[in-house]
Every structure is written in C-alpha cells, then in structure tokens.
C-alpha cells in the first residue's frame, strides 16, 4: 500500500497564518457574482484578492456585494492596489481597505509603471512598501522577476514576494523560469507567482520550480468554462507542489529502458 501523503505538514504560511491551499485567486472579470462564487469555490482558494473602488452612487443598491457572496469569515481577503500608478494612491488604497475590512492588514501592493505592460514601478513600489510596513501593514508585494529586488523586498519586511510570470492578464505563462528559480533559491519569505499564468501547466510549472503558491485571476475568469478551469488549476497547483516535493528525476540525453535487460527469451 502506498503511504498517504501528509498534506497537513505542507501548509503555506503567510504572516504566521497557515493555509492548506497554495492557489490564490482574484475575483475580477467574471460574468456575474454567481460565476465568481462558483469559480472561487471550485478553485479551493482560501486567499482571494479584491479591488477597492468608489461605490456607484444610486446604482443597483440591492445588488449583492462581494462581501456577502464571499464572506470574509470564510475567505482571507487580500485587498489589492490594482490600478495605482503612484505611491500615494497605493498607500491611500491600503488604508481605505483596512478601514473597510475592520483593521485587516494583509494587502497586495502593486504600483504600476506602464499601462501597456502593467509592469511594476519598482522605485515607487519600494517606497510604498516602506510606508505601509511602518504603518503596520503585512505587505505581499507584486514585483518583476528580478532576484535582487525579490531579496530586497523580503529583507525590508514584506511577508511574501510575488514576482510576475508574464504581464498581468497576458496568459503567456512563465517567461523566465530561470529567474523564478533564482528567486525561489534565495527566498526567506513565501514566493508566489503573481500574474501571467494562462493554463494549468503554467501553474504546475511554477510549483515545480519551487514557488510557494500562485496567484491568478484572468486564467480562470477568461476561460471558456471558468468553473472547470478553477478546478483544473487547483489540481495543477497540487500536482506541481507534490512533484516539487518528490524531486524530479535527472534529465538524460538518451533513452534508458524501464524493463530489465536480463531474462529475455528472444
């Protein structure tokens, strides 16, 4: 009999909190609230990102709110600073999120530098991270796949470093697995690939590279069947993680028979 795999011993720990799921998901771009709810449920994710925006005054006051559909008692909310292009906007957004969520201080910081690539503005991200950490926030930081920056963010006190795999919403997959590997090897905090994953194999690859988790939104929401893709992503993350823990066989240039060479009768 095969020994059962002990999942309990393999929790993802972020800022002292343990999570059994290593898939983090966004809640944007879904057709409606019901599709959002079903997809998030199928993904098995425990941490979900949300955006902070102006209320639409006078519009659909009875429309269910995200907080009703995905209750913060069931999910760990990760408010993001998506759409922020300045330090001030990012810091303001985090402070509003903390007020909105009754003092909840875990945030996803992203300060964007360019509308076309949505690449992070690293100097601004550093500055915002410093202000937020001083203000008591637990910062999970979106960054590029630069190993030096990843180290810097961890050293300054970010609770997770989240390098992009490819531009946000591009679905191009892991464009630079070697950099992701460098980042993982030097990591002192969880490394979570954030952005750019397109399909299940991309997520599995991130996990096989040793990442602690993957954060995605569009890969699920923009699939033809988001609920099914959410389920696929859940399995890919689990499979990739187990493969990483198992340790893959070395690559060889030539074939190597799997059946014994002796004892043949032909």
């Amino acid at each position: 009999m095969n020994a059962p795999v002990n999942h309990a011993s393999d929790a993802l720990v972020i800022a002292g909190q343990a999570y059994s799921s290593r898939l983090l998901v966004g809640t944007g771009k879904y057709k409606d609230m019901e599709e959002t709810r079903r997809s998030i449920e199928a993904s098995g994710a425990q941490i979900i990102t949300v955006a902070i925006r102006r209320t639409n005054i006078g519009q659909n006051p009875n429309e269910p709110s995200l907080l009703d559909v995905l209750p913060p008692s069931k999910y760990t909310y990760l408010p993001n600073t998506a759409g922020c292009y300045s330090v001030d906007d990012a810091v303001r957004t985090c402070r509003l999120a903390r007020e909105l969520l009754d003092g909840h201080d875990l945030v996803k910081l992203e300060v964007l530098g360019d509308e076309m690539t949505l690449y992070p503005d690293i100097p601004a991200t550093l500055q915002a991270a410093e202000i937020l950490i001083k203000d008591g926030f637990k910062v999970m930081v979106y960054t590029n796949d630069d190993p030096i920056m990843a180290k810097r963010f961890a050293e300054m006190g970010c609770v997770a470093v989240m390098p992009l795999a490819a531009p946000i919403g591009s679905g191009l997959g892991i464009r630079n697995p070697f950099n992701i590997r460098f980042i993982v090897e030097a990591a002192t905090v969880p490394i979570i690939v954030d952005a750019g994953v397109g399909t299940a194999s991309d997520a599995a690859l991130a996990m096989e590279l040793g990442c602690d988790g993957v954060l995605m939104n569009t890969a699920i929401a923009a699939a033809q069947n988001p609920v099914l893709m959410a389920s696929a992503m859940k399995k890919a993350i689990e499979a990739g993680r187990e493969a990483f823990r198992a340790g893959r066989m070395p690559r060889k240039q030539y074939g190597s028979p799997s059946s014994p060479l002796g004892g043949t009768f032909f």
Partner: protein
C-alpha cells in the same frame, strides 16, 4: 454648502455628518469606507464627523479584482 462625493458635486442646505451623508446616499449600514480630504474617517466616528463646505469625500467598497 457643496460637498464633492466620489467626484460629483452635491449641494446640502445645512451641515451634515458622514452618517447623514451615507444615509442620504442610501448607503447607511452598508459595508463602506469613508475618506474626507484624503484622511480616513473611521466607522466609529461617522455619527459625529461634520462635513464642511468643499470637502472632498470618497466612499469606497470592495469589488471583484485580481
């Protein structure tokens, strides 16, 4: 007096509190966060916080995002 709420100017006959403004907007009891002139006004102070002429108020909530 005039107050700018989420980028839109609104006129009020008399001074209002944050709580009264939210009530007027149909957002009383809803899960929102409020900022006046870029400073957070905690929920515990909505009842007492008086808005002044040309204050800029932001009322935000959580929506789907990645």
């Amino acid at each position: 007096m005039k107050i700018v709420v989420n980028g839109q100017e609104r006129a009020f006959a008399a001074s209002v509190t944050v709580a009264a403004l939210l009530d007027e907007l149909g957002m009383a009891g809803k899960r929102v966060a409020v900022e006046v002139n870029q400073e957070i006004v905690p929920r515990s102070r909505h009842m007492e916080f008086q808005l002044n002429d040309s204050d800029r108020v932001e009322v935000v909530y959580a929506i789907g995002g990645g």
